[in-house]
Amino acid sequence: MDTFLQQLINGLTLGSVYALVALGYTMVYGIIGLINFAHGEVVMIGAMVSLSVIMALLGAHAPLPSVVIILAGLLVAITVCMAIAYAMEKIAYRPLRKAPRLAPLITAIGMSIILQNLALIVWGRNYLTFPTLIQPTPYNVLGASMTDLQMLIVVLAGLLMAGLVFVVQRTRLGMAMRATAQNPQVAGLMGIDINVVISAAFVIGAALAAVAGLMVMTYYGIAHYYMGFLLGLKAFTAAVLGGIGNLAGAMLGGVLLGIIEALGAGYIGDVSNICGFPFLSDSLQQQCAASEGQVSMFGSNYQDVFAFFVLILVLIFRPSGLLGERVSERA
């Protein structure tokens, strides 16, 4: 039981980060129908920039409290990421708004390659370690342990998501966004500046991505120029799982994907243990004897398979994701 709860807690933590990133994908997709492949790289840039600022401040003469240092790093990262997303939209996506659907997808891939290699030039090829500014203290939660860092990540992600829902549902900008998502032409006729709305979707997504980048880095303690790729892929998977274009779907999908992955990694080894099978070859029997009956067909390195497998299953039975509406095909 406590393994279950423990994996649930780990999954929830990672899942809330996925959800934050997934929101960026889903907002852009909901409004202009583009898979912003470069979004994962924005998360990576957020992590890298905040790390640089934090290291610079740690090296300063007057010692600052660590909360101030982290906040400063976060603010700079958010600003940089917003600027990058704004520029990216303006340069690579806006001119292609009326082009065939796959053209902006290719520029998005191009942007992703550009950002990755710029990061490689600036921060180098090595894994960068994050200084232990926050010493995680574990707390006992119903027999499983949850660190204060994990709690902070979950709570902060929850607050940010609540804030986003408020912006989208209750403000004028949010109303404009929803209108543009429904029909850009008509929204334009109603006096909405569509370009501003689309930029806003990119910029808000980038801000969330920057926070997610810092979270991932503090959680794992490392950052790397390539980290955005897999994270972006998972987050995009989460967005599709929930139903792309749907905010609640992205949140649900993110948390679910995190939990599925953690549980999958925790249990797949035991479930696929083959030592109980009657007909084993000699070499397998020897392996079983040597490892006290623990030879799994699939180890925890199949974690990613698990996530994608669940995604495929869900999409077969619900072709538009868990909370998605039926969308018609765009040419």
């Binding site: 898979i35 065939p100 495929i312 095909e329």
Partner: protein, 361 residues
Amino acid sequence: MTAHGRGKSVPPKVWAGVVLVALALALLPFVAALAGQAWVRILNFAMIYIMLALGLNIVVGFAGLLDLGYIAFYAVGAYMYALLASPHFGIHLPFWVILPLGAGLACIFGILLGAPTLKLRGDYLAIVTLGFGEIIRIFLNNLNTPVNVTNGPQGVNLIDPFHVAGFSFARAQSILGVPFSGPQKYYYVLLLLTIGVIVINIRLQNSRLGRAWEAIREDEVAAKAMGINTRNVKLLAFAMGASFGGIAGGIFSATQEFVSPESFGLFESIIVLAMVVLGGMGNIPGVILGAILLTLLPEVLRSTMEPLQNALFGRVLLDAETVRLLVFGIALVAIMLYRPAGLWPSAVRKRELEVPKVVAE
């Protein structure tokens, strides 16, 4: 494309052109060898990529189904060859047996992927195919315990090259007094196969099936209403695209004599997709152009970036590999911005894009 009718005789000018092109293609490996054998290998790679891109073009360009996991079929073909012609299992089958087998297995995988995803549309299909590609790669990476099937991340090496009764395509050899290197011999095999694939693709496009694919791409509901069995036709697109990928994979295995899961990541899938879209989706000459361009561009950049930096700044400021990818990314964005329909779009697509302008006037 093949506009001239069956009864008409081909004008001599066309014949002259065909002969000239054939001569140029035949001499190309010797011209490339002047710059080093590495360039002959790059030419061979370009042809493997042409086959891959044409295979993906069936799925994406003809049938309009966005596939982000296409490289999985390439991997299936490559591993099929690697496992059946290497000391790993001690099996050494000849290539003309394995290549069709690889194509067949890839075809089965194509149907396996296609069957459950028929209902999905657009970007949902994209993410499922992407997941499928990753699943295949992760399996290849991890199927070394408890039973060693794929040899895990180390990959399979010492794969047999193509050989016919003692005549090996990998060894350098002099034929009729002309010295041929290994890659040069492979070049001619690949050239024949590539021409075969191109011809099949052209015939497919103009066939009943090709027109059915086009109809589905333009409007699936209307196509169904016209009596096209959309399920079977879509499955055929997946299966045929996949088998071309499988063949290309087998050839890749044989020319490299080594495969590892690293060669089959998502990035490869994306690059092949970029070849199709950038060249001109659905247009066979365009796709060939895209494949050649995106294979050659990184290599040209690799060999020019360091001398260029030396000339400009007097020293090498940035690692050539990084700059190469950076420029590659910039080129992708720039080409798409200036030619949104691709470098060489099909006539239909070009017309579609021009419609709004005419209306605006």
